[in-house]
């Protein structure tokens, strides 16, 4: 690779420094936009930028080419300051076909960079996208955007002249041409992509060569073609030093399980039934049999949760992930674990609903179901990761709490975290908190429901332990003995004990971090994947000098013990959520504060802009 790869230094055109940029690649499902976006993210990360990504693909497996519903896109924001979200409006849009233009044009900023592949703007594609004429002929387009019409297809074909590939195969390289071009525009290094191509097509050198050539052709095209008059530089962000990698939320959840398995030296049984967007956790787990994590693809979600309850009874860690209707189906099984006081962990990778809903879209609307979606009083611990990388730590923490308190734990991830990626400072597994496990083996004074004083946990017994044979089940149990009991006062006691056990998990929660002044006009409270959006919006408002702060909850049940105190330091409280107002109800009920929700349920993350506006509005209303 000592080949003369164009590197930022060789760019001859004027370079303007930017803080941040938001770029989206959009094209047909078959156009390879996901790979393009991922590689651009890798290049940005290599160059030291902070970044957040947002992949977006159609619900259809292979939508017919050229249709609106077949458009696939990949967006990212990268910058030299902390980047919290994939960005609201686009600085640059690459549209590989008319459908992509039609679907995404409205998200491009006025004056933004619009790069289109003119070759794709022919009759068939225009028809499929529902255009009556060719939008590229409409002068309005050039009025609004800095439009660059590039015949990407032809330029790619030209670059691959002479290679032993057929026309179709060559054409398929065109995404790397656009990647090269955009890499030049934003002075990103193409080395990591060249390396990736070489590895990916190791078995097929002709393809490796073709894609590499297309990439470089795009890069050089930017540099030499007359139409691009400037390019942009983005300084490396100030990020904590260390080794980084890119990680998606689903992979981080899976790796969090592996870390807990390694630490505890326990078997993990992972129960799954495929469902979007949780399936990738299963796929990832299945790759790592060496870690003693045993995955079962069950016949349905009920069996999946059943299997992990059985595993927990056997002294293993039981984990499962699902989404939407799949979580609803787990209620009965989770409730058995509540009654039997067995440690299981459920990942709910929330998707837009109700019912089958919009399987590939994100949402935060399962919070109340996690808390209350089971018959009778059924308290469980609920946690929520804030970023893709945080999924690793929260998965690990969920297992730690489940084992320590002998209690089910629900982790609320979502579709956005699941497939979104961020540069992740790789942790040293040794620095993770310990997870002590001690199985009861002493028959003396043993009873299945004697309780630990600090945690109220009952003892965990591995079947196979002589002298501790016992029987438990879903009928109400007498405290201590664990015998079936219909006694009225015992039931009341057990209801309270199960609740208290969960309440005591509060002792695990570190002091809440307040982002901003410790008291003031307005506090924004969020949870889960809105972390980036809220933080970005609040920082913007803070820069305008307002007394606004935010807190982001990772612990939804129990809530942090210091939260009530914090809430009372602000005049107004705003709770932005991708649901119709769930956490806000909890805060109002719990602390009797007049918290106000900001709610958009569009299957998408909130935008920084709308959250900022909501803050401004509430500050205004106040007066």
């Amino acid at each position: 690779m000592s080949d003369a790869v164009a590197s930022p230094a060789t760019a001859a055109k004027p370079r303007r420094q930017l803080d941040r940029a938001v770029v989206r690649f959009a094209g047909d499902s078959g156009d390879g936009m996901q790979v393009t976006g991922e590689q651009f993210a890798t290049e940005a990360a290599w160059a030291g930028a902070d970044l957040v990504t947002l992949p977006n693909f159609p619900a259809e497996i292979r939508a017919p080419a050229g249709t609106l519903f077949g458009v696939s896109s990949y967006q990212l924001q990268f910058g030299s300051r902390r980047v919290y979200t994939p960005g609201d409006r686009l600085d640059c849009l690459v549209a590989m076909n008319p459908a992509a233009l039609k679907v995404h044009q409205r998200d491009l900023k006025d004056g933004g960079l619009l790069i289109v592949n003119t070759a794709a703007f022919e009759k068939k594609n225009l028809d499929r996208a529902g255009y009556t004429g060719n939008p590229l002929d409409d002068p309005a387009l050039e009025d609004h955007y800095r439009l660059h019409k590039v015949d990407i297809t032809r330029l790619t074909m030209d670059a691959l002249e002479g290679l032993p590939l057929n026309v179709k195969e060559k054409e398929r390289c065109k995404n790397f041409f656009s990647l090269g071009l955009v890499s030049w525009i934003y002075t990103r290094p193409i080395e990591p992509t060249v390396a990736w191509i070489t590895k990916r097509f190791a078995k097929n050198p002709a393809f490796a060569e073709a894609n590499t050539r297309a990439l470089k052709a795009g890069y050089h095209y930017g540099e030499t073609a007359e139409i691009f008059t400037e390019c942009y530089g983005i300084e490396p962000a100030e990020m904590p030093p260390g080794l980084y990698r890119s990680i998606t939320g689903n992979r981080a959840l899976a790796w969090g399980i592996l870390a807990a398995a390694e630490r505890t030296k326990l078997t993990v049984v992972y129960g799954a039934y495929p469902i979007t967007p949780a399936s990738d956790v299963l796929h990832e787990i299945s790759l790592h049999k060496r870690f003693g994590v045993r995955a079962i693809q069950a016949e349905d979600e009920i069996a999946a949760v059943g299997a992990i309850v059985g595993a927990a009874f056997g002294g293993a860690i039981g984990v499962c992930a699902s989404s939407g209707p799949g979580i609803a189906l787990k209620a009965e099984g989770m409730n058995l674990a509540v009654m039997a006081e067995l440690p299981i962990v459920i990942f709910d990778v929330q998707r837009a609903g109700p019912s089958t809903g919009l399987p590939t879209k994100t949402e935060q609307a399962d919070l109340l179901m996690a808390l209350y979606g089971r018959n009778s009083e059924s308290p469980v611990v609920v946690l929520a990761p804030m970023t893709p990388g945080d999924c690793f730590f929260v998965a690990y923490e969920a297992i730690r709490i489940a084992l320590k308190y002998m209690v089910p734990v629900i982790v609320l991830s979502d579709g956005y975290l699941a497939s979104g990626a961020e540069p992740w400072l790789i942790p040293d597994p040794k620095t993770l908190p310990d997870i002590p496990v001690s199985f009861r083996t002493n028959p003396e004074g043993f009873a299945p429901y004697v309780r630990d004083e600090a945690t109220l946990a009952r003892p965990w017994v591995r079947p196979g332990t002589a002298g501790l044979e016992h029987r438990i089940g879903g009928l109400e149990k007498e405290n201590i003995t664990g015998n079936v009991s219909y006694d009225a006062d015992n039931h009341d006691l057990m209801v309270r004990l199960r609740a208290e056990k969960v309440r005591r998990v509060a002792q695990e929660i570190p002091p809440t971090t307040v982002n901003g002044p410790a008291a003031g006009d307005l506090l924004v409270v969020g949870w889960g994947s809105t972390y980036g959006t809220i933080t970005a919006a609040v920082e913007e408002v803070q820069q305008s000098g307002k007394a606004v702060a935010s807190v982001h909850l990772r612990h939804l049940n129990p809530l942090p013990p210091d939260l009530g105190q914090i809430l009372r330091q602000y005049e107004r409280i705003l709770v932005p959520e991708v649901n119709s107002g769930q956490l806000v109800r909890i805060l109002r009920a719990e602390y009797l504060v007049d918290a106000v929700g900001f709610n958009r349920v569009r299957g998408l993350p909130l935008s920084t802009e709308e959250v900022r506006e909501a803050i401004d509005q509430l500050l205004k209303d106040k007066r």
Binding site: R245, W255, V269, V309, P429, P463, G473, G474
Partner: protein
């Protein structure tokens, strides 16, 4: 490949009786089954602490409380799934599943299907009393068409399912049928089931004297039993009927026909071969009054057990690349350093 260990000491029936009051109705067939199982347990030679009974919900599913082993009385219909997870976590344990005709074939039919086709190493005992006992007497999926119960005062409209035919259709590797009042024979069949490698399915015809008394009377009544009970013995011809006028079966194509032994040459009589899956399907379809009811082991064949295949994959992966290492995993693939 089963990792179940041998018992170090000799048990008696008493060792398997728990300290709980047995709460079935006086006269319930479940008592006889409990006793047969407690009696049979010592023969398995497995340490008591390595045995687990998993059940669903129903009168029958109360069973684990009465066994002095580990036990888990779970939720309605899901015991096979729970047992599967347990076996995967703990292949060193001997796992029994106790279920009923409602628990196993109504709400739990799907899990039963899958535990059988996967051939998970569990012994499944389905107590078939053709009624929902615990909920006080509604018809079940094995109740006969036209059954009058609280929920079907005009007679049920559902054609019953045959548990053994279902199990075979699901791809079970061991299928047997026993009768609660035939204690010695039941014990023998249960023992064979418990010793099977893979999923063993036993339908136990059980009397619910409160809500469906004498549902199996053709097999209880001394008189009718003679023509209705067909004891299966591997390698022996299928014979039934009075001693002085034995009847047998012949197969014409796959179609069975009843013959008088005295009218038929011995060579044409159907001889039971419990390794023959084709014949097992025919056996599972035999039912009174046209045919006698087969009692015993309809079929037993060998096949890999689900969890053992998975564990073998785990062992192979570790053998090939060593045990997992999270620190290494975290830095695998593309990484970059900052600062």
């Amino acid at each position: 490949m089963s990792e179940i260990t041998e018992a170090p000491k000799k048990y008696t029936k008493k060792d398997f009786e728990s300290d709980q009051d047995v709460r079935w109705c006086p006269g319930c067939g479940d008592y006889a089954i409990l006793s047969a199982i407690q009696k049979m347990m010592p023969d398995l030679g497995i340490p008591r602490e390595n045995i687990v009974f998993i059940s669903g919900i129903g009168c029958s599913s109360r069973f684990p409380y009465y066994m002095n082993t580990y036990g888990f009385h779970t939720i309605h219909g899901r015991a096979p799934a729970i047992a599967t997870g347990l076996r995967l976590a703990r292949p060193d344990l001997k796992v029994f599943v106790v279920t009923g005709d409602g628990d196993g074939l109504s709400i739990g039919g799907n899990h039963l299907l899958h535990v059988l086709r996967r051939n998970v190493n569990v012994t499944i005992l389905l107590f078939n009393n053709r009624i929902y006992g615990l909920t006080k007497g509604q018809y079940s999926p094995t109740s006969e068409l036209g059954k009058v119960t609280k929920s079907s005062p005009a007679g049920s409209a559902d054609r019953p399912v045959s548990p053994c035919a279902f199990a075979l259709g699901a791809g079970a590797t061991f299928v047997a049928r026993t009768v609660d009042r035939n204690v010695a024979y039941m014990e023998e069949t249960l023992r064979r089931a418990a010793q099977h490698h893979g999923a063993a399915f036993v339908e136990i015809l059980q009397n619910c004297n409160v809500y469906n008394d004498l549902a199996w009377n053709v097999l209880y009544d001394r008189e009718s039993k003679i023509m209705n009970e067909l004891r299966l013995e591997h390698g022996k011809p299928l014979l039934f009927g009075p001693v002085d006028d034995r009847h047998g079966l012949v197969l014409e194509g796959a179609t069975p026909r009843v013959v008088r032994v005295k009218d038929a040459p011995e060579s044409v009589l159907w001889v039971h071969d419990d390794g023959n899956t084709w014949k097992a399907h025919v056996l599972s379809q035999l039912w009174a009054p046209d045919f006698p009811i087969p009692i015993g082991i309809l079929m037993q064949v060998e096949a890999p057990a689900y969890e053992e295949v998975l564990l073998e994959q785990e062992r192979a992966a570790i053998a090939e690349r060593g045990p997992g290492d999270v620190a290494k995993l975290l830095v695998s693939g593309d990484t970059w350093r900052i600062g």
